[in-house]
């Protein structure tokens, strides 16, 4: 028997935990990209995250208001047992890691020895390698709650500080890392200033509204903002989020239920108001991107709005076509988390949104429901050109990115 026996080697990473290097964590994703051949394709990840609160002492140094900046500095230095200065949100209700089952969602405590760039650049580069992406659009994490902040001015202070820190300290470290500047949307004049301030930065490829908020997107005070964004030629994105204090989710007792609904509900409401108030007719060149709500909500809303619109057209007189036409022609979508338990429903969704031109890949790394590019690559009903469009070329087109990648001439 001995002659035929081989000895197995121990895998160098026996257990993945919060200390595991991102490249080891994502080794299977990298291997898939190499084996399946899409490692050489242009891949743009339109939604990935870093945890900006880890660097909060640095971020708060960029707060413009001197008194608030001083308060923040003292708080960060001396306050114990409290979340980072000024951030609202859900304190200890962050159950995304399912009780330790998904360690990368909890923390990335891996070793970083590089000192030439910020730690977040190193971690992002590692994720880009693992997911085989050429461009990664970086979003914050706890700041996604800022739309619900009781002090509207704090949203302004913190967005200003974060955007300056990000564009000055992080983005210059790696040409493939880009961002959509987060707008203090509850204060439209300040949001407008932020657009003007960042519109010419090539690393800022668009503007982002965090969707958990109760301000109606059709309010007249936003029209100047939409005009400015339209003129910049860059898209506006609505990045979904959840908020357990939302009264409509008050009966949900599981994170599973609350998160499933919350991440779609905010964008369902904003999309409804956006379309029925004719914003696409008022700003026909303004491109909107709907981020991190998955895709299953889109066919539902298309059918629902079309059905009701035909009976009540007089309530939406700006519309020249069906709501679903605007949702297909004027809106773009990111795929994650792509619901795929019913492949026929997914295929129908792709047809309904004209995915070949309107759909963009996003990973949402390092969050618990992240998608690797294989979710698009492996779809049985897409041809290669559609896969290439969704994984990168559609994003290159709407964001004006180099289709040969950030390092190509």
């Amino acid at each position: 028997m001995d002659a035929d026996i081989t000895k197995a080697e121990d895998h160098p990473v026996q257990s993945i935990d919060t200390h595991t290097d991102t490249r080891d964590y994502l080794a299977h994703s990298r291997r898939d990209a190499e084996r399946k051949g899409y490692v050489d394709w242009l891949i743009v990840d339109v939604d990935a995250h870093h945890v900006e609160s880890v660097s909060w002492a640095e971020v708060t140094e960029y707060i413009e208001d001197p008194v608030v900046r001083h308060q923040a500095t003292m708080y960060q230095k001396e306050r114990v047992g409290a979340p980072p200065y000024g951030l609202n949100g859900d304190l200890g209700l962050r159950y995304q890691d399912v009780g330790g089952r998904i360690p990368h969602q909890s923390s990335q405590r891996e070793k970083v020895e590089e000192t030439d760039v910020h730690r977040d650049v190193v971690l992002t580069r590692r994720a880009m390698h693992g997911l085989a992406v050429n461009y990664m659009v970086l979003f914050p994490t706890p700041m996604l709650f800022l739309g619900m902040h009781p002090q509207t001015e704090m949203e302004v202070f913190l967005c200003q500080a974060y955007n300056r820190w990000l564009t000055e300290r992080i983005l210059p470290g790696e040409p493939g890392i880009v961002t959509l500047v987060v707008l203090p949307f509850n204060t439209p004049d300040e949001a407008l200033k932020m657009v003007e301030q960042h519109a010419d930065n090539p690393n800022v490829i668009g503007f982002c509204v965090t969707s958990t908020r109760y301000k109606p997107v059709h309010a007249n005070e936003y029209m100047k903002l939409y005009r400015a964004i339209e003129e910049s030629g860059k898209p506006i994105a609505f990045h979904a989020g959840y908020h357990w204090q939302d009264p409509s989710l008050a009966t949900c007792n599981t994170f599973l239920g609350m998160h499933s609904l919350g991440f779609t509900w905010c964008n369902i409401v904003h999309m409804t108001n956006w379309i029925l108030n004719g914003i696409p007719e008022r700003f026909p060149k303004l491109k909107t991107l709907w981020v991190e709500s998955g895709l299953a909500w889109v066919p539902f809303l298309m059918q629902r709005l079309d059905d009701q619109y035909l009976m009540r057209q007089s309530e939406a007189p700006l519309l020249k076509k069906m709501p679903s036409d605007y949702m297909r022609e004027n809106c773009w979508y990111t795929c994650q988390p792509m619901e795929k338990s019913n492949m026929r429903a997914l295929e129908c969704t792709f047809e309904m949104i004209n995915a070949e031109s309107q759909l963009l890949y996003s990973s949402d790394w390092p969050h618990f429901d992240f998608d690797t590019p294989s979710v698009i690559h492996d779809l049985p009903f897409l041809n290669e050109q559609s896969k290439r469009n969704i994984l990168g070329l559609n994003a290159a087109k709407i964001f004006g990115l180099n289709p040969k990648g950030p390092k190509a001439g």
Partner: protein, 121 residues
């Protein structure tokens, strides 16, 4: 078929695992009581490194005879390997996901001979 030695029985504590490589193949070997089970380290969900995840007992709802819920309990007789990418759980004895028959781990044959563990590929 190739016979690959993974290690000696006594190297495995009860309810423990070891992930090994054989060429390009990655395999997780699990001990539960006196039984050994082996599965490919490729998750049926998105291809993640399932066997490199953590082990958790199965969770059950604690219902009384009137169907009222009193929270949840661990069932220590059932042990799941949890894929670290998105948290899908699979019974280490059967390889099945507790919530659907659509998803299961890819099995590898294990043999115990003269105190040593082998996998057959």
């Amino acid at each position: 078929m190739q016979m690959i030695r993974v290690g000696a029985v006594e190297e495995f504590e009860d309810r423990s695992k070891r992930v090994v490589t054989v060429g390009n193949a990655e395999i997780g070997v699990f001990r539960l009581g006196d039984d050994f089970h082996a599965w490919r380290n490729v998750c049926p969900h998105q291809g993640g490194p399932v066997c490199q995840g953590r082990l958790y007992p199965l969770v059950r709802e604690n219902l009384d005879d009137q169907m009222k819920s009193h929270g949840r309990l661990y069932d220590e007789d059932k042990l799941n390997i949890v894929c670290p990418w998105h948290g899908l759980e699979f019974d280490i004895r059967t390889g099945k996901h507790p919530g659907t028959s659509e998803l299961a781990l890819d099995p590898v044959t294990v043999q115990v001979e003269a105190g040593d563990i082998y996998v057959l590929l």
